[in-house]
């Protein structure tokens, strides 16, 4: 304590000493360090051993488990995702810092907790790899500023910030959000755009001269399925195009498998519990299976649903966001099942090709109600 040292060295020691003693005594009492004697040992409330865990560690591990999916993304859709990720993270951090400054919160602890990074990453993973820079930037900023900090920052947001950001983009810029690259298809002579091409496109808003949109973009498999079915094609015809692979959309199936692996990794790390993903995927697969059996011509099968769009990302990385999810295990089952069912309904009959974002937001809104009616039985209370 340098100031105390300094005071001690000054000549008017007596007064200073008394003052210091008074201050130290008051502080110690305030910290609960004193009972009736001067403390010989520091004290603290039990428990005295805390598991070495932190929000930063949890968020860091979530990021690690996303890596396989990002690798798949690069393999199938080119390096655009990397640019999007960097942009998403940078904007999210900037928005977080801005909001923390406005709210007079310590920057260090909150900026480094990793939660803003996750928000930026999740939005980036939902956007087309060559989407213009302002799309990801405005989405992340919106997510952090309005969906997170308007509600009080980390831990206080009722809605998943990434999904709020994405949904706002989806409603405002539907065209840009459906311009997906097809996977590099040898049969169609389509090449992956290079990193520099991606960078150029994302920042300039148009393609470099040697590329044309028609040559490199296509609708997502979910989108193409919808259009094709609307044109009166049967499911088999719709799925016979070059966009479709063994299980679901070509490329998409691999990304979803990588996400599934990441999700299982998260389960093994005990960062998420099984309830939400299992309930969500089941609620999506079971109706799909029933309808597919009844009318295979008009309805895609369960495997297609599970391996397309944001199914796995939603099940393991978005719906499981604990802050905006239901609390008890029973509540989580209901919450997850709700997301799965709503996603299926939107995909099958709704106005958007994929419904994960809206399903998550709708169920977020239902969480207080779910929590109210799913308080688990407490030890010693009647069953």
């Amino acid at each position: 304590m340098p100031w105390a040292q300094e005071a001690l060295e000054r000549p008017c020691t007596l007064v200073a000493l008394d003052k210091i003693r008074f201050i130290l005594w008051g502080r110690a009492q305030h910290d609960g360090q004193l009972t009736s004697m001067s403390p010989q040992f520091p004290t603290a409330a039990a428990p005295h051993v805390i598991a070495p865990n932190s929000v930063r560690r949890v968020m860091g591990l979530v990021l690690c488990t996303l890596v396989p999916a990002i690798v798949m993304h690069v393999i199938f859709f080119g390096a655009g995702i990397l640019v999007q990720l960097l942009l998403g993270i940078a904007t999210a951090l900037a928005a977080e810092a801005f909001a923390l400054r406005l709210r007079h919160r310590p920057l260090g602890a909150f900026l480094s907790d990793g939660s803003a990074i996750i928000t930026g990453v999740l939005i980036a993973m939902c956007l087309p790899p060559l989407a213009p820079w302002w799309l990801i930037a405005s989405g992340s900023a919106f997510a952090i500023l309005l969906a997170k900090h308007l509600y009080g920052g980390i831990g206080m947001n009722p809605f998943n910030p990434a999904m709020v950001g994405y949904a706002v983009l989806l409603v405002s810029f539907p065209v840009q959000l459906t311009q997906w690259l097809p996977p590099p298809l040898a049969d169609l002579q389509i090449l992956r755009p290079s990193f520099s091409d991606s960078l150029y496109t994302i920042f300039m808003g148009h393609l470099p001269a040697h590329l044309t949109w028609d040559a490199i973009t296509s609708p997502t498999p979910l989108n193409s399925l919808r259009t094709s079915l609307a044109m009166g094609h049967t499911m088999q015809e719709a799925q016979s195009g070059p966009l479709f692979g063994v299980l679901g959309g070509r490329g998409w199936e691999w990304i979803n498998l990588a996400l599934l692996i990441g999700g299982i990794w998260l389960l093994a790390l005990r960062i998420i519990r099984w309830h939400i993903p299992v309930a969500m995927l089941a609620a999506m697969a079971i109706p799909a299976a029933i309808l597919h059996v009844l009318d295979p011509g008009s309805y895609a099968g369960p495997l297609f649903h599970l391996t397309s769009g944001a199914s796995m990302l939603g099940a393991f990385f978005i719906a499981t966001d604990p802050v905006s999810a239901a609390t008890s295990n029973r509540g989580k089952l209901i919450y997850g099942a709700g997301i799965g069912a709503i996603t299926f309904v939107i995909r099958t009959w709704g106005g958007y090709p994929d419904g994960v974002a809206f399903a998550v937001l709708l169920m977020n809104a239902a969480v207080p109600l779910i929590d109210r009616y799913t308080i688990p039985r407490i030890y010693g209370h009647a069953r």
Binding site: Q33, L34, T35, S36, M37, P39, Q40, F41, P42, T43, A44, A45, A46, P47, H48, V49, I50, A51, P52, N53, S54, V55, R57, V58, A109, F110, D113, S115, G153, I154, G155, M156, I271, R273, P322, V323, A325, T327, S328, D371, I375, P376, R377, I378, Y379, G380, H381
Partner: protein, 482 residues
């Protein structure tokens, strides 16, 4: 025998080896003892001696007050030098204590051993009370009132607690290893006092020596010891398996009702240390004047279990174990999960002092910066009371008493599991401990309001009835007049 799994709980590093390497030691008699009058749960005892009076070792020096209270005995022979407020390890505020200065003699008060078979069960309970017996597991609930409560159940199941689930503590382990016969003898006395139908002993599976010792003692039991048929249950080492409620559920498969006691479902738990102390009192006339204390932690030179005269200063005990080695980061009474951090070692050993942990910084994993709750659910997964600590945290901050009640704040056993696993490093247990008094007050205020309302409604109804009777009579009279 396997046991039903407890909800939640934690697998913690036990750190018990440090204190179980050496045999049980006996501490030297101190020159002075400080004996708090309130070192048991319930009402403090009132002194029977005056300053200056000479007392003998084992002489009663304070008597119980009210139903839940306990006798206190002089733990050394000497003169009462003071009866005054002194700092104690078990209370925040200084507590009234009797201070005895030794006169060097070993003179003991005469207590005749008792023939258990000659006493009826209730008289036996009263005699156990006279020995100053309290639970030695740390909760120090007076033994006799607990026995009498247990006798009210139809069929009693005595459960001996040798689980010792808290990290660092090994005094029960050592007792079971070295004095298994005493525990069995105590168990038989307690069974008789309770008229118990069954008796179980619960030991965690990290104490193989203790399990073997207890089993061996049971098969080699002395013919004049009425050993009840104790079934030894080995349970997995999961904190807090030794919590009273968890223990009862493990053994009986039943849950202790919220706000109730184990005796409500016919179970009574006693610590193995209590059983051994009861045997010593009944058979040898020695009241509760000493106990085994685990002295451990990296900051003490010779970690061990040591039998200490109650009232000995903690500094003295630690000195007898080789003294401090290193810069002490914390001195705990109890284990690392529920123990109290002591600000000083100039405090007496009390009946609740099961363990002293002299912790160096390496023994502790202190809290990091507190972050907001991210609702990760680790806490509710670990909570043995099946609560939702994240919700309790939220409602405690909002001081929403009805919601706290609904979410079972008063069912929290303050085990610390939720704290331990929280990535946001929130001091949840402390928060719950602090919130409980307000909720208890709220509950009793509500009960009073309900009572007042029913009274008021009853009065209203009575007045209305009287009025209508009066009207009816009036009408009757008018009719008869008319």
């Amino acid at each position: 025998m396997t046991a039903p799994a407890m909800h939640g709980g934690l697998r913690l590093a036990g750190n018990k080896k440090r204190s179980t390497q050496s045999a049980l030691r006996i501490a030297a008699a101190p020159s002075q003892v400080v004996l708090p009058l309130d070192q048991h749960a319930g009402t403090a005892a009132t002194p029977l001696v005056q300053v200056g009076e000479r007392v003998l070792r084992g002489q009663p020096i304070a008597q119980p007050q009210g139903e839940i209270s306990a006798w206190l005995h002089a733990s050394i022979a000497g003169h009462v030098s003071a009866i005054e407020l002194r700092p104690t390890p078990h209370r925040q505020q200084p507590a009234p204590c009797i201070v005895i200065d030794s006169d060097g003699s070993e003179e003991s008060a005469a207590h005749e051993p008792v023939d258990v078979d000659r006493l009826d069960a209730v008289a036996l309970c009263e005699h156990i009370a006279a020995g100053g017996m309290v639970g030695l597991g740390g909760a120090v609930f007076p033994t006799a009132p607990k026995l009498l409560l247990g006798r009210q159940a139809d069929e009693v199941h005595l459960i001996l607690n040798g689980a010792e689930c808290e990290p660092w503590i090994s005094c029960d382990d050592m007792l079971m290893r070295e004095r298994a016969a005493d525990i069995l003898r105590g168990a038989s006395i307690l069974c008789r006092a309770l008229s118990a139908a069954r008796c179980s002993l619960v030991i965690e599976d990290d104490k193989p020596e203790a399990i073997l010792a207890m089993q061996a003692a049971q098969s080699a039991a002395h013919p004049n010891i009425h050993v009840p048929n104790i079934d030894v249950r080995v349970v997995p080492t999961i904190y807090p398996a030794g919590g009273e409620n968890q223990l009862v559920t493990t053994v009986t498969g039943l849950e202790v009702p919220s706000g109730g006691l184990p005796s409500d479902i016919g179970a009574i738990c006693h610590n193995v240390g209590t059983a051994a102390a009861v045997a010593r009192w009944i058979d040898h006339g020695e009241p509760l004047i000493r106990r085994i204390v685990t002295v451990t932690g990296s900051g003490v030179a010779e970690a061990s279990n040591i039998e200490v005269v109650l009232g000995t200063s903690i500094a003295d005990v630690i000195a007898q174990c080789g003294g401090y080695s290193g810069r002490v980061a914390r001195l705990l009474m109890g284990g690392s999960m529920m123990g109290r951090a002591l600000a000083s070692d100039a405090l007496p050993v009390v009946k609740a002092s099961n363990c002293l942990v002299v912790a160096l910084p390496t023994d502790l994993q202190p809290r990091g910066t507190e972050m907001p709750c991210i609702r990760c659910g680790n806490c509710s997964e670990a909570c043995p009371a099946m609560l939702l600590p994240q919700q309790l945290h939220w409602f405690a901050r909002a001081q929403d008493l009805p919601a706290l009640d609904l979410h079972g704040l008063l069912d929290c056993i303050e085990c610390g599991c939720c704290d331990h696993v929280c990535p946001s490093q929130i001091p949840l247990t402390q928060q719950f401990r602090d919130a409980k008094p307000a909720l208890t007050a709220h509950r009793s205020a509500q009960a009073a309001a309900t009572l007042a309302r029913t009274r008021f409604e009853a009065r209203d109804a009575r007045l209305a009835r009287l009025e209508s009777e009066r009207q009816a009579k009036l009408a009757e009279r008018r009719k008869s007049v008319g």
